[in-house]
């Protein structure tokens, strides 16, 4: 297989918890939220890699680490073989940002309410010094708006975000990311705030742009159904770690990890004949805090198959159980 465009190695991000004055005077050791705790994956060119999990599992933090909105505590991120965790100069960071862009979840919040659409799209051009004159920049902005099908552009450039529908706003946000011609886009729940009827439209648009512009996506979502539809690869995260990783369809049709199974069982399906059946959810308890990570397998307190003396003691490793299909569980095939 070809070289991956993006490679993440043992990525970690711990957020320090604020200590009280008394505690820090007593010299108590600081506590950390283990948001991302040793994550490895590779993403191939022009593919969609979905990162799936519940809120607080670290999927968004991983995305922000990749676009360098956060600095990792440990680990490496390689873009086209180059380690980007070590770059520090302004020029290098700017050059990196031209290659890696982000689309945010809430199109109502990701556009400055006081910016006209023109200003929104001009900002990346100004920051990167693209387009010498206003006319040149306008040309680029028109092209970007046409690409995301906000047409005719002249009707929209002088509007404010609140004068646009949710779908149009997300298109503008996509145009803002694409205007820099990036190679890699981190899309953080790009459709979860949108209505069903628009969701499909945005996903279609993102697919189309993938073909046309050759971009690669990291698609962060909690929604397994859209991930199956949109993604080539899928990784399931739980408490800061990837517990299962594999081709999207394979992973959904044949989940290996008990957590993946629980997640899939919980997905509602539009089948009204099952309305009176109470679904079996193969999981117990609630997500523990990311401050005090359970020992051994971090899923064991919620796992209905957990074996005493094994799961609560020994940390499992990601093992390839099928071709390209990995899981981090002691009991794959044994429960």
């Amino acid at each position: 297989m070809a070289e991956p465009i993006l490679k993440v190695e043992n990525l970690k991000k711990y957020f320090p918890l604020k200590r009280g004055l008394l505690d820090s005077l007593r010299g108590k050791p600081g506590k950390f939220v283990h948001a991302v705790d040793g994550v490895n994956f590779e993403i191939y060119k022009q593919q969609v890699f979905a990162l799936v999990g519940e809120s607080g599992c670290g999927k968004s933090t991983t995305g922000r680490l990749i676009v360098k909105l956060l600095e990792p505590t440990d680990g490496r991120i390689y873009l086209e073989g180059q380690d980007v965790t070590t770059i520090t100069t302004k020029e290098e960071v700017l050059a990196y940002r031209r290659k890696v862009q982000m689309i945010f979840q809430d199109p109502f919040a990701s556009l400055n309410p006081r910016f006209r659409i023109f200003d929104v799209l001009e900002e990346p051009l100004l920051i990167h010094g693209i387009g010498e004159t206003r006319a040149e920049r306008e040309e680029l902005i028109y092209r970007a708006l046409e690409m995301v099908k906000v047409t005719p552009p002249e009707d929209y450039i002088s509007r404010f975000p609140h004068m646009l529908s949710g779908g149009q706003r997300q298109r503008v946000a996509i145009a803002r990311a694409l205007i820099l011609n990036p190679e890699f886009i981190v899309a953080d729940e790009p459709v979860s705030m949108l209505d069903v009827s628009i969701r499909a439209e945005i996903l279609e648009l993102m697919k189309e742009l993938k073909e046309k512009m050759g971009v690669t996506y990291l698609y962060i979502t909690h929604d397994m159904s859209t991930a199956r539809y949109f993604a080539d690869w899928m990784a399931v995260m739980y408490l800061g770690r990837i517990v299962e990783i594999g081709p999207a369809k394979r992973l959904i049709d044949n989940p290996l990890h008990p957590y993946t199974r629980a997640l899939l069982a919980a997905v509602p399906e539009p089948k009204p004949e099952r309305r009176n059946i109470i679904k079996e959810l193969p999981i117990k308890g609630e997500v523990p805090s990311a401050v005090d990570i359970p020992s051994g397998c971090r899923f064991h307190p919620r796992c209905i198959y957990a074996q005493k003396g094994l799961c609560d003691v020994k940390q499992p490793q990601l093992i390839e159980y099928e071709h390209n299909h990995w899981a981090e569980c002691h009991l794959v095939g044994k429960y």
């Binding site: 529908s165 069903v196 159904s225 539809y229 919980a266 997905v267 539009p270």
Partner: protein, 319 residues
């Protein structure tokens, strides 16, 4: 035949804003039978949440009920003075599980205080009796009754949602309105809450209106489904009929837009354009600017709800 607990007839609720009159709920007629769950679906801004608050007799200002009737167990509530509504109707006859339950609880009072306060002050119940009842209902929604002594921030999102559900059931209302009770919850918690509501429906014979934009969730619980578009019901009927034989193009498109977990779909459908402005809705059928099957008559005359099948109605000129 089971009797109707809720009868809504020609209900109109308009928002009188400075920009114009927003026809958020425009001429709705439907009934809810005892022990039945009716799902109400539609895109954001179609008026489904407005309808929820209107049924509670408290349209969000500047909204006003312009016309129509809402009967709960045969009693007309439109036009009742506010203090009567507060004392005799709200929570006692009809209650609501709010959208964004996380914020529905006051962080400075214990769960028990918040649950018993209306019982003590509005119903004149003794403190012990009220606390006892609160604990009974917390147990019913699968929580430890000792939670009455806890503060909201000590509870997880799912637990808070359960508390809010218990509060809505506390006065044993005839009708419960659940307004997006599972949005903002994680998939697993959402599934647990839906399981809980299914159980309550079975055990208590709950009559419920379940409002959400998510047709998959709706399918999990609803006996009947009403699809709203631009302030109107465009299709209503038995949920299996609506899901498997959708009659209205809007319903068809909406269902085709849902990605399936275990099926491969080549291309998802979507509905081009956006929902209309409710100040000046399009003439004729309100869906006609986005409809792929639009005809001349659609642009001129508004279709009425027609019976497509037994207990399955749709408002479309194609039928």
């Amino acid at each position: 035949m089971t009797k109707n607990v809720l009868e809504v007839k020609n209900l109109k609720m308009y928002y009188f804003t400075t920009k114009g009159v927003v026809k958020a709920v425009d001429d709705l007629t439907f009934n809810l039978k005892k022990g039945e769950v009716m799902g109400l679906a539609g895109e954001s801004g179609c008026g489904k949440s407005s309808l929820g608050f209107t049924l509670m007799g408290m349209p969000t200002p500047p909204g006003k009920i312009v016309e129509g009737s809402i009967k709960i167990e045969g009693r007309e509530i439109v036009g009742l003075p506010d203090d009567v509504l507060r004392k005799e109707i709200r929570w006692e006859k009809i209650s609501m599980i709010f959208q964004g339950a996380m914020n529905a609880l006051n962080p400075v009072y214990t769960v028990g205080y918040q649950m018993t306060e209306p019982l003590i002050y509005h119903k004149g119940m003794g403190e012990e009796e009220a606390l006892d009842r609160a604990q009974r209902y917390l147990e019913l929604v699968g929580l430890d009754p000792e939670i009455v002594y806890r503060y909201p921030h000590e509870l997880s999102g799912g637990m808070k949602q359960r508390v809010v559900i218990a509060m809505a059931l506390l006065m044993e209302p005839s009708v419960v309105i659940a307004d997006e009770p599972t949005t903002a919850l994680d998939v697993i918690v959402q599934a647990q809450i839906i399981n809980l509501m299914k159980r309550l429906k079975k055990e208590l014979g709950l009559s419920m209106i379940f409002i959400t934009h998510d047709l998959s969730i709706l399918a999990e619980i609803s006996d009947r489904i009403a699809i709203m578009y631009a302030g109107k019901i465009v299709e209503i009927g038995d949920s299996e009929k609506v899901y498997y034989e959708p009659a209205h193009p809007y319903t068809q498109k909406l269902l085709a837009a849902i990605p399936r977990l275990h099926e491969d779909v080549d291309r998802l459908e979507f509905i081009p354009g956006q929902p209309p402005n409710l100040i000046e809705p399009p003439k004729g059928c309100r869906f006609h600017p986005r409809c792929p099957y639009v005809m001349q008559v659609c642009k001129e005359q508004e279709p009425e709800l027609k019976e497509v099948d037994k207990d399955h109605y749709a408002a479309c000129w194609l039928l």
